[in-house]
């Protein structure tokens, strides 16, 4: 009997040695942002703080908490309510700062993390799908994945875990630590016009991250100069001067991807520019755009590829250059063909829907019904099927000198515009 026990113990020990390395493998940010996995994230917060967080959801007050993912428990993180249009007391939008209370503490290299409540997207996958399109077109985007979120062991619903665009993100993507990053805050309708030499209106819109010890001239000077140069009449030196402040190719590419994904609240949004970060590379005056929050993508299947783009000063001026116009059409075409390639866009929608549907159906705090979610997914699949063809048709027309929007196939007109019974884009005056 004793020998048998010893043998079993030895076998168990041997088994654990063989299995342990895979179980004990260090988790990485790639594991966390694995788009093929529905993560499970748990937040632990004192019940008193949680009540305050809910009651004061409109404040940005941080509360202490622990975060648990798999076997990794990050203690003493800071958590607060976040969001503008998505901020609500039912399904909290959350931001976690890992180094809020513990100096230099990070989670898988991240200093902070956004828990997007997906409140404004009844389909819940728009942002993730649009960002996948940006990434497929070679653009730099924040990593994100879906998760089931539990707060104090109570299921709070499906969230997107999103890598914030911050200095840590810039260091990871550009390997730079001294550049200038600006978060765009929508204050008023802004089409990229020149607002004068004063810093104040730009500071209201462009929230500089870091560099707190530096003066406005150093932080905002090149940004203001950029808009000043953009707004000059296009002449022989316009392109050269503007290129000194803005990567025009990247800008045009960014707008083209937003156009393909029918983004209604982006650089050429319905209320001016919105949902982007601006980054000025270290030791240069040159800026580039970074996409953020694409919840208003995929709204209209037959949205023109040129919808509202003329309202934006930068884009309007850029389109007077044949090579930039050609680039715009090329990127649109690449988006369309890439989406069609082995039904990539459709498969992407289906894959994400499959990943989260059960969790969404169990989501107790989502603003819509299960039927509404299913309907929205069906519509996004329809978008993925039809949009590439319509865009390619419009590109062909544009290249032949005809800017008339694509013809809508009969029978699908009723599902082309997806704004009924969903949170409308915020009204901005």
């Amino acid at each position: 009997m004793t020998r048998r026990r010893v043998l079993i113990a030895l076998l168990a020990a041997a088994g654990s040695v063989l299995v342990a390395p895979s179980l004990a493998r260090a988790q990485t940010a790639d594991d966390f942002f694995d788009v093929g996995t529905l993560q499970e994230v748990r937040i632990f917060i004192n019940s008193r703080d949680y009540a305050l967080l809910r009651a004061r959801y409109q404040e940005n007050t941080f509360y202490p908490a622990d975060m648990l993912w798999r076997n990794m428990r990050v203690r003493n993180v800071g958590i607060r309510s976040r969001g503008t249009g998505s901020r609500n007391p039912t399904k909290l939008g959350l931001k976690i700062e890992f180094d809020r209370y513990t100096s230099k503490q990070k989670f898988l290299g991240l200093a902070s993390l956004v828990l997007d409540n997906l409140w404004q997207d009844p389909g819940m996958i728009r942002d993730r799908t649009a960002m996948a399109m940006f990434a497929r077109m070679g653009q730099i985007v924040p990593r994100e994945a879906f998760c089931r979120l539990y707060i104090n062991n109570v299921y709070e619903g499906v969230y997107a875990v999103v890598e914030p665009i911050d200095t840590t993100f810039i260091a990871r993507t550009f390997n730079e630590t001294t550049g200038y990053l600006f978060e765009y805050n929508w204050v008023n309708v802004f089409y990229g016009g020149y607002l004068g030499a004063a810093y104040k209106p730009y500071k209201a819109m462009f929230d500089a991250k870091g560099h707190s010890g530096e003066g406005d001239a150093k932080i905002y000077g090149p940004l203001i100069d950029m808009f000043k140069e953009v707004n000059h009449e296009v002449d022989a030196v316009w392109r050269e001067r503007v290129e000194g402040y803005l990567d025009l190719n990247q800008f045009v590419t960014h707008v083209a991807i937003e156009s393909f994904t029918a983004e209604w609240d982006g650089l050429a949004g319905y209320a001016g520019m919105n949902n982007f970060y601006l980054y000025r590379h270290a030791n240069t005056n040159r800026h580039r755009f970074l996409p953020w929050d694409k919840d208003y993508s995929f709204l209209q299947i037959d949205s023109s590829a040129f919808l509202r783009v003329d309202e934006n000063v930068i884009f309007r001026q850029a389109m007077t250059f044949p090579d930039l116009r050609a680039l715009y059409l090329d990127v649109l075409e690449q988006c369309a063909r890439s989406a069609q390639e082995e039904n990539w866009l459709l498969r992407e929608v289906q894959r994400m829907a499959t990943l989260i549907t059960n969790a969404v159906h169990q989501d107790p705090r989502k603003p819509t019904t299960n039927a509404r979610f299913d309907e929205e997914i069906a519509w996004l699949q329809e978008f993925a099927r039809l949009r590439p063809g319509l865009v390619l048709e419009e590109i062909a027309r544009a290249r032949s000198g005809d800017n008339v929007p694509a013809t809508v196939p009969r029978g699908i007109a009723s599902i082309l515009w997806r704004t009924y019974d969903r949170p409308n884009p915020p009204i901005r005056r």
Partner: protein, 400 residues
């Protein structure tokens, strides 16, 4: 008890010994007290801002000590020109026996050697951190006390509204203890062994009370009162202080030491509503003094050769080293600034005080102190770039 009511022969009389005093035979005695005190500071940062070397009156105080019928004492002390707790002490004491006395009113809780030393008798300009912050100070209460075994043992035990004025706060989030029980036992084991040894004294003390959920009012402050530890943590539960003290004053020399430890429970304060390791504050000091002019350290500092009689007055030098530390009793994880961390990022101030006191006459004292402070975490202190800093303070004090 004898009848001590006055007869016509020993009726009203005015006497000026240590204090101006009015007496009515042995039935009534009233000693009048007054204090005027001003400081000049020189420090990198002061509560009044940097480079403030102007003269500030820090005490304008009057008081009265009275004894009636030999068995009832009264004490009243008021700070002039202040709206913050102007009545510093108001109490009455009934002593049918030396071994059994009852005191009621507002007075110092029985803890802290340095805290219980009157301002006009302090060896240094500032009290130790243990005495000035961690000892409870004054509160309203009632206390049983007495001295037994030929003044070899003194006991004090009382109940108070709160845990002293050092924890009083007007900040809504801050909490102080509720009803507090405090006690102290002092012993003079060598009381019958002659002047050199008789003064040797030791004591232990405690306070205990409940604290409602909130953030503790007792935080870290430097000698000049500048914050070096903000107590933005949550506490809830029992608060306990324990203190140990010792003093010996042979001839012109004096030595004393004190240690106070305060813990406050954090019941249900973790992120999972479980208990956290208690909040911990400790303070201790050791100090030594030498009256260069040879006066005896025990008792009042009365110059042997005051200036108005052609002498130099009394001159004393002193040194004190102390520590004042904040943290938690746990050490099992990475310290954090989170108000709900098991192990918080604490801080510690280590102070070295060098002092000279000159008493040209009985009622006048001039003190000069240099205080060197070193913070473990200067980022939390008044001068984040300087872990070590010196403060200099000059004090002129007139006390009746």
């Amino acid at each position: 008890m004898q009848d001590s009511r006055p007869t016509p022969a020993n009726a009203w009389k005015f006497v000026w010994e240590d204090h101006p005093s009015v007496r009515w035979g042995t039935f009534l005695r009233m000693d009048f007290r007054a204090m005027l005190q001003g400081d000049i500071l020189n420090a990198p940062v002061t509560p009044r801002g940097a480079d403030d070397e102007s003269w500030h009156l820090t005490r304008r105080r009057i008081g009265l000590d009275a004894t009636v019928w030999r068995h009832v004492d009264f004490h009243v002390e008021r700070e002039l020109e202040t709206d913050v707790e102007p009545w510093r002490e108001v109490w009455g004491n009934f002593r049918p026996l030396e071994a059994l006395q009852v005191r009621g009113g507002r007075f110092k809780l029985p803890m802290g050697l340095d805290q219980h030393t009157d301002t006009e008798h302090l060896d240094f300009v500032y009290r130790s951190r243990a005495g000035a912050v961690l000892a409870p100070g004054r509160d309203r209460g009632v206390m049983l006390h007495g001295e037994v075994f030929d003044r070899r043992l003194f006991y004090e035990i009382g109940v108070f509204d709160h845990d002293g004025h050092h924890a009083h706060t007007t900040v809504p989030e801050r909490v102080m203890a509720d009803r507090t029980v405090a006690g102290r036992i002092r012993v003079r084991p060598l009381a019958g062994f002659g002047a050199g040894l008789a003064d040797l004294e030791g004591a232990v003390s405690f306070t205990t009370a409940e604290v409602e959920e909130g953030q503790p009012a007792i935080g870290g402050r430097t000698a000049l009162g500048l914050p070096f530890f903000s107590t933005n943590i949550w506490v809830n539960g029992r608060q306990r202080r324990t203190g140990v003290e010792a003093r010996w004053r042979p001839g012109p020399f004096g030595a004393q030491a004190e240690y106070i430890r305060l813990t406050t429970e954090r019941l249900g304060e973790s992120v999972e509503d479980t208990d956290l390791a208690p909040y911990l504050v400790t303070a201790w000091y050791v100090s030594g003094t030498w009256l260069l002019t040879g006066e005896s350290k025990s008792g009042l500092l009365v110059p042997r050769r005051p200036v108005h009689r052609g002498g130099v007055g009394a001159v004393e030098i002193g040194i004190r080293y102390e520590s004042f530390a904040f943290g938690t009793t746990a050490h099992d994880e990475t310290p954090s600034l989170s108000p709900r961390a098991s192990v918080i990022v604490g801080n510690r101030d280590r102070l070295l005080t060098l002092g000279v006191t000159w008493a040209p006459v009985r009622w006048l004292r001039v003190q000069f102190n240099g205080v060197r402070e070193r913070l473990d975490d200067p980022a939390q202190g008044p001068n984040p770039d300087a872990p070590t800093f010196w403060s200099r303070v000059f004090r002129l004090q007139f006390a009746l």
